[in-house]
Subunit: 340 residues, 3 copies
Amino acid sequence: MFLRNAWYVVACDHEVGRSLLARTICGEPIVLFRTQDGQPAALENRCCHRNAPLSAGKLIDDEVQCGYHGLVFNRQGRCVLIPSQTAIPPGAEIRAFPAVERHRWIWVWTGDPARADETLIPDLHWQGDPGWHNVGGYFHAKANYQALIDIQLDNTHAQYVHPTTLANVGAVRATPRVKREADAIRVERLMPDSDPQPLYVRASGFKDARADVWVNWVYKPPTVVAFDTGIAERGSGVFEGNRSRAFTFHNVHAITPENERVSHYFWMSSRSFKVGDEAANRIHEDIRITFREDLEMCEAQQACIDAMPGRPTIDINADNPTIQARNLLARMIEAERAAG
Amino acid sequence: MFLRNAWYVVACDHEVGRSLLARTICGEPIVLFRTQDGQPAALENRCCHRNAPLSAGKLIDDEVQCGYHGLVFNRQGRCVLIPSQTAIPPGAEIRAFPAVERHRWIWVWTGDPARADETLIPDLHWQGDPGWHNVGGYFHAKANYQALIDIQLDNTHAQYVHPTTLANVGAVRATPRVKREADAIRVERLMPDSDPQPLYVRASGFKDARADVWVNWVYKPPTVVAFDTGIAERGSGVFEGNRSRAFTFHNVHAITPENERVSHYFWMSSRSFKVGDEAANRIHEDIRITFREDLEMCEAQQACIDAMPGRPTIDINADNPTIQARNLLARMIEAERAAG
Amino acid sequence: MFLRNAWYVVACDHEVGRSLLARTICGEPIVLFRTQDGQPAALENRCCHRNAPLSAGKLIDDEVQCGYHGLVFNRQGRCVLIPSQTAIPPGAEIRAFPAVERHRWIWVWTGDPARADETLIPDLHWQGDPGWHNVGGYFHAKANYQALIDIQLDNTHAQYVHPTTLANVGAVRATPRVKREADAIRVERLMPDSDPQPLYVRASGFKDARADVWVNWVYKPPTVVAFDTGIAERGSGVFEGNRSRAFTFHNVHAITPENERVSHYFWMSSRSFKVGDEAANRIHEDIRITFREDLEMCEAQQACIDAMPGRPTIDINADNPTIQARNLLARMIEAERAAG
């Protein structure tokens, strides 16, 4: 069960071009391409004649030609040519999905096209902003998308899952401030005089053994988690809004279900310091390791659930944000279902 | 659902010898071998004692010894020896299938043995005739057998699926003459003054840019499609039956279901020109490429159907021959089912 | 359906140490380790918080720390620490399995811990006894455990399955003496003046072409088959209990179900002759080949059953011991089920 009237990240910007890319999201096989003017386009990846995947065909101008009998579909999913006859029969059409390029990613709307409002795409304007250094990646994850979101929203796992990068004793016991909004969950964790995360230290060259640390995030259902996080000298006023002496990261996770057990995990890490400094790019590998550790834990967890489905579990206090996030999404899916 | 009272190609002639070959057709695991006098034999590939596959045993004279406890079965499927005792208990038998070698292939009858009439095997006498040069092959195809037959019967796909070998603009719009018979569908496509297929040109050394082209075929249910096809100089009388200046191919496709999603695809291409000419054999690779392209399209189509089962499709005019062929086979299966 | 109140071999002694080993038996994923005093321990391989496999965590002293949120479980399966809070909620526990090291193997009790009586572990005291030379091995078998037990209990297959090692014409027709006990089946096969098995000849250096041969075994449900077997000079009194001039092997097979179609096959072969003789160790490879041949036959049989489920089979006289063994286990499982 997925939220249908929603934007999902379907690909990185550089993956989609003047050839045909096949990708399945929310159980829906899609073929992606760019039109001649550079706009992304997304169609059902299936010819309505004999079920050949259109991704095995050809992109001709702004239309897709099926590789089997040569039927041609336009960007709206309408069949516009059947080479062996002149008439186009009724029903000769496939589904077209609204598609938008935004913040270095391609987004697809899987629900009613009439409701595809681009303003609903989360604001991640620093992705692609020259004032920030961005590094992004993609994992094809053998795990449920909500489990992959859970681990991002969890405040206490870094100490165990990320021992060499994000481990932070302070975070395990810090109490998050959780703020529920109609369409988002926001969490603020401020840790004055705390042990700074090894990844932040290596990236910034920070020298002190203690720091003011913050890990804030917002969850935008169904699939985006955007972190605002970093470290600063103790007492430099970072908790009062003064970031002039802070090292700030924005880490965004967009985790799109392929199906209930497999996900497309897109991430982008952006920093606003040392933007032109090549040496600072050693952080890239640290980031990749960190997010891969999340992935590996969730894949192990998925295998464990598959082997022992339905066994009883307990909740702990620290689950509060992840439970709220799951409840919010469940309410949205239920509302959509109730509305038919 | 397969037609049971029918001959299916189960192997190439050279595959079956004095050892045991396992192959599953129509969901039925079979063990194949030749008796000492060279005749093919086919048994259920399962010992009736403890379900060991007989193909893991030994061929001894004209009998098969199970590799587990040594039970021996004769060509009729009767157990004739249990090494550890003298009596053969009732029920000690397995299924035996009528098997015939014909036209370079081994054919097995999967239905009632009493009805296994060898005259029902299609006449493909040129396969093995020294007046013809034959080249054959086999693919293990991850696709439904009817889909693999469809692509053979289709008149319009060559332009898209076979761009380097059989592409032929004329064929896309040519109207086939379809003739329904009680147990076959015949199609004639005559294309005077047309663009000759690249494969035919390379094979024959034909110089003219235009040719009289024909692509005729007969479908013999459940699984054989035999093509009579070629090119000739324009106006040389080939459409009136004069083939003295024509280059003729007979291409036969025998597509046997392993199950509903996997097939054994046997093919043989025969030519009646340049029979002793080694240089002309470069055509072999062209043929293999062409038939592999069919295979790849059908495997992609099968994967697409598996991912999106039950979605609506449309028919086009050019589907007429494939629809007639499917209807004919469906009627035969239904008649068999109704007869019990 | 497995017998629950029983000991199963879960690992070789050397496999379990001061790290975490994951293994599934009887459908139950288990994590294994040794405590600091060297005792084996076995827990459900699943954190009761968010279903992470504990084997992806850490062994700390005698406790297991989950690698996701750091929950710690003691050897009894009780959660003793949740790093992010002070209280342990009710239900914070997982299953603990009685585990014992005995006879070079680690045994786990899968049923009611209160009934885990170590005296029920079969006596295999020669395994690890310095008066015997032991060689052991393990196969991960794609076959049902009862089928793998059947082939051990079968008296007639060696001639066909083990042509180069245990083939023995005498055994095919020898009548076994079968003795049913309340919790075991015992079989004695004495073959005076018989053809000695090639493996025994090569191992012992025995010169005569004929020998007094014995192959005795006991089946201890659910999964242990222990052989006492060997050869001696004809008339040397071996059948009257005089083994002073005999070459004796004890071969033990412990075949633990992973699930209904996959098994853990542990074996150990022990000899009481040439114990310090390195040259005699060439027998190791003979033994491994032999037991692998059993494995391969059972895997072929499993694939055959999967392809043709439910087809009729016959029994032969030689099946008597395997049928009695299956009946004994079936009665025990039924009794356990009836008792709730």
